[in-house]
């Protein structure tokens, strides 16, 4: 007889020793709060979406617009905002759709895939906001400097005289700072979701391994 068959026989006997809950005990459980990771993912994702939407859209006040006009970037900024709003709505829609797809009645692999997909939507959105904000900042800095150069009086032209190397330094410096900031954020992300999704990822990998 197979080793596992001995186990199977004994398995049936386990039932005698199992705890037994009453109707009332089970009924009470229906109203308890769930501690499922999906709930946590939902709360954190909504917070992230809100924060980054505020960051990309809420920071522009009248002063900001006046400044943009001064450095001839008003049309560019309007265009940027149209793109930004559209992308934000698109991501919120995608997030909502993916989130609605998560169902405990799916098979294990589909459930895991849908949870990871929902997370990926938020992650991509955050990356979009950060990279586009960084690039916008660099573009604005370049335009501000050029604007100062154009309107500078004779005595301080030397102060604003930028040669090619200075421009390269400015852009490279900006990108390095942006890169460092993104790295720090990425590490922070790894930490939070490492804790929350480590087990899920490991199990998903395990299931995928079976498919090879």
């Amino acid at each position: 007889m197979d080793e596992l068959d001995i186990l199977k026989q004994n398995w049936k006997k386990q039932e005698e020793d199992l705890p037994r809950l009453s109707y009332d005990q089970i009924y009470k459980m229906l109203w308890k709060k769930s501690s499922s990771i999906v709930k946590w993912i939902f709360v954190i994702s909504i917070l992230e979406l809100l924060l980054s939407t505020l960051l990309s859209i809420g920071l522009a006040d009248a002063e900001y617009w006046a400044e943009m006009e001064q450095i001839h970037l008003k049309n560019f900024t309007i265009g940027l905002y149209i793109v930004s709003y559209s992308v934000t709505f698109y991501f919120i829609y995608r997030f909502y759709r993916n989130y609605r797809k998560i169902s405990a009645t799916d098979d294990a692999a589909t459930l895991m895939r849908n949870i990871l997909k929902t997370r990926r939507t938020v992650k991509t959105y955050i990356a979009f906001v950060l990279i586009s904000s960084g690039l916008t900042a660099v573009i604005i800095a370049v335009f501000t400097l050029r604007n100062h150069q154009m309107f500078a009086t004779a005595e301080d032209t030397s102060k604003y005289a930028f040669d090619m190397l200075d421009w390269v330094k400015l852009v490279v410096g900006g990108l390095v700072i942006l890169g460092a900031f993104l790295c720090a954020l990425w590490l922070f992300y790894k930490l939070i979701y490492g804790i929350l999704l480590r087990r899920l990822r490991a199990n998903y990998r395990e299931l995928k391994k079976l498919e090879v």
Partner: protein
């Protein structure tokens, strides 16, 4: 209507609660965690209950939702200490049912099963519950062939534990 649904659900779960208890035994190591997981599975089953259609068996549907909760949705509220209270919830073997050697083998096998990863545990659990490979593959979302291959590997591994 709601009351009726609640009553129907709780009665069904009360009748089939053994399935949930067995999953809790498989995936937790102390009584508190067992109760915690039981509660989370109950909540998830209740949340999914409106989607349950009478065409499937309640128990078959339960395996899926309960295992999904244990493997994927459940967030352990505290660290599970493997050795502590192990006997309190671990599988029982009645000494008078078996000779010494078989009893020892069973103990070793249960220990080995408890040490498997979450997915392999689910496979073994469904196998022990007499589920067909078709049902196992549908519950886990893998192909039937892969479920068989994996199960054979686990069987071999268990064999080598008992007969090193």
């Amino acid at each position: 209507m709601k009351k009726e649904l609640e009553h129907q659900f709780v009665s069904n779960l009360e009748k089939h609660q053994n399935i949930v208890h067995k999953i809790c035994r498989m995936y937790t190591n102390d009584q508190d965690s067992h109760n915690d997981l039981f509660q989370e599975i109950t909540i998830q089953l209740w949340k999914a209950y409106p989607k349950f259609r009478g065409d499937a068996k309640f128990s078959t549907w339960m395996y899926r939702v309960a295992l999904n909760t244990a493997i994927t949705l459940y967030r352990k509220s505290k660290r599970d200490i493997k050795t502590q209270n192990y006997d309190e919830v671990s599988f029982k073997i009645k000494a008078h049912d078996y000779d010494d050697e078989t009893e020892q083998q069973l103990k070793l096998m249960y220990k080995a099963v408890k040490e498997l990863n979450d997915i392999d545990k689910a496979l073994v659990f469904l196998y022990l519950e007499d589920q067909s490979y078709r049902d196992i593959s549908e519950t886990l979302g893998i192909t039937e062939v892969n479920a068989r291959v994996k199960m054979n590997r686990i069987k071999k591994a268990l064999k080598s534990i008992i007969n090193p």
